[in-house]
């Protein structure tokens, strides 16, 4: 399109609005140079163009968006609670089973020999010839270990005293001077009601007073002490006693343990603890038997 004085205004506006091609722009510029009287009008039109202002939108932060993503809710507390519940449940189950097993073991152990843990050995010399050739004279004076001499002395005194009472028939329920009870010379039966005192239980020396028996006590809260008889050949024999069931157990104690000599492990263990003292063989006819005292735990 050619520019002339009739259409220059449109060309000027198109030029100012940057709607012309470079060639057309050159034509406009050429026309302006050829028509300087129209330059003032061109300038006026040029002044109608607004220069951009710097205006800032002050609430831009409100426009930003964040897509709502699926949040994984950390169920920490729920997990912890579930773990605690599981642990408690598992603990309860285990505890219940252990308790049941323990009760079963108790029930079984009440019928079978309990664990026997050897108490400190006490050597009890048994002399073949005693002063009084009575049954009570055969009760043993305990020769306790040297370290416990004082306590042994008091215990010895007590034994002696009870033996004397027994000898005099003062012991309740025991026939006076029960010489009729055939007790082998080398045998003895003793028991200890508690760890503190050794007691003689003549009523346990029932008919026959089989030296091969194991005597136990009733109603003792602590474990009964069992002394094992020694035979003429110093052979230790431990057999089941014919104790009545009432002798076996009370509410809070187990008094009797019947050891089976067929139980080799126990017998062997006992044999080890009941070795003869070799020094005793050198002294007269006295026989010393190592008496093992066992503490029954349950």
């Amino acid at each position: 399109m050619d520019i002339n004085r009739n259409n220059y205004e449109t060309s000027f506006l198109l030029y100012l609005d940057r709607e012309l091609s470079p060639v057309e722009m050159l034509k406009v510029e050429k026309f302006l140079t050829e028509n300087p009287d129209l330059q003032k009008e061109f300038v006026l039109l040029q002044q109608t163009i607004f220069l951009p202002e710097q205006i800032e939108y002050d609430q831009k932060e409100q426009l930003f968006h964040k897509e709502e993503k699926r949040r994984i809710i950390p169920l920490y507390w729920l997990r912890i609670a579930a773990s605690v519940i599981i642990l408690l449940a598992a603990g309860w189950i285990i505890l219940t089973k252990v308790s049941n097993n323990h009760q079963r073991e108790m029930a079984v152990n009440n019928r079978n020999p309990l664990k026997i843990s050897p108490a400190p050995e006490k050597l009890v010399p048994v002399k073949k010839e005693l002063k009084n050739n009575t049954q009570t004279d055969r009760f043993v004076k305990k020769d306790i270990i040297e370290n416990n001499e004082q306590s042994n002395q008091s215990r010895e005194k007590e034994i002696t005293k009870k033996a004397a009472q027994f000898n005099q028939g003062n012991v309740k329920g025991l026939p006076q001077k029960n010489n009729s009870i055939p007790v082998p010379e080398e045998s003895f039966v003793a028991s200890q009601k508690s760890n503190a005192a050794l007691e003689i239980q003549p009523d346990r020396l029932h008919a026959g007073t089989d030296p091969k028996q194991i005597t136990a006590l009733q109603g003792t809260r602590t474990a009964a002490m069992v002394l094992i008889t020694a035979g003429a050949k110093d052979q230790i024999k431990v057999e089941n006693t014919d104790l009545k069931e009432q002798n076996f157990q009370t509410d809070n104690a187990i008094s009797v343990v019947a050891l089976d000599d067929q139980n080799k492990s126990i017998s062997g263990f006992i044999n080890k603890l009941t070795k003869r003292n070799p020094d005793d063989d050198k002294t007269n006819n006295a026989r010393k038997v190592r008496v093992s005292v066992f503490q029954i735990s349950y």
């Binding site: 205004e9 220069l51 939108y57 426009l63």
Partner: protein, 161 residues
């Protein structure tokens, strides 16, 4: 258009859109509301919009919202009542910018919007036509008429001064 594209639009175009709205409506609160609603609509339709055309889409939304607002408020069209000569109440010589601001207020909404889109945002006639929904000839005629009105205003002020 992704979330990132949208937020980039906020960074790049919110100031320009607000300026355009403020100059067009001459009301700060209206301009803010229009910007807010324009970007909200952009966000809602982001999945349908090409990121390269997000600016024109944004201005299109803003422009039409402004037209709707003006219709709702029954704004006065200044063009028809524009006097032949500018008022000469002020004896002091204002700056050219201030004169132009006053001259801009003499334009009607369409003229003002088109001038602002052309001068502030640099859109072509074709782009303005897309935004405003007018054809290119209408845009061209409207803009040329607006320039002549502004020129006459400037000439009248110069004569007074």
């Amino acid at each position: 258009m992704t979330e990132e594209d949208y937020n980039n639009c906020v960074k790049l175009y919110s100031d320009g859109l607000y300026r355009f709205m403020l100059k067009s409506t001459r009301q700060v609160e209206d301009a803010r509301d229009l910007v807010q609603s324009s970007f909200e609509k952009l966000w809602q339709h982001r999945s349908e919009i090409n990121a390269l055309k997000s600016k024109s889409y944004l201005f299109t939304i803003g422009y039409h919202k402004m037209i709707d607002l003006n219709r709702k408020n029954s704004r006065i069209d200044f063009l028809e009542s524009l006097p032949e000569r500018p008022e000469t109440s002020s004896k002091t010589s204002p700056r050219l910018k201030e004169i132009l601001e006053k001259a801009l207020n003499r334009l009607n909404e369409r003229q003002r919007s088109l001038v602002l889109l052309k001068d502030y945002e640099g859109y072509s006639y074709e782009e303005i036509a897309d935004i405003t929904g007018l054809n290119i000839t209408q845009v061209k005629v409207t803009l040329h008429r607006s320039r002549l009105i502004l020129k006459d205003w400037l000439v009248s002020v110069e004569n007074v001064l």
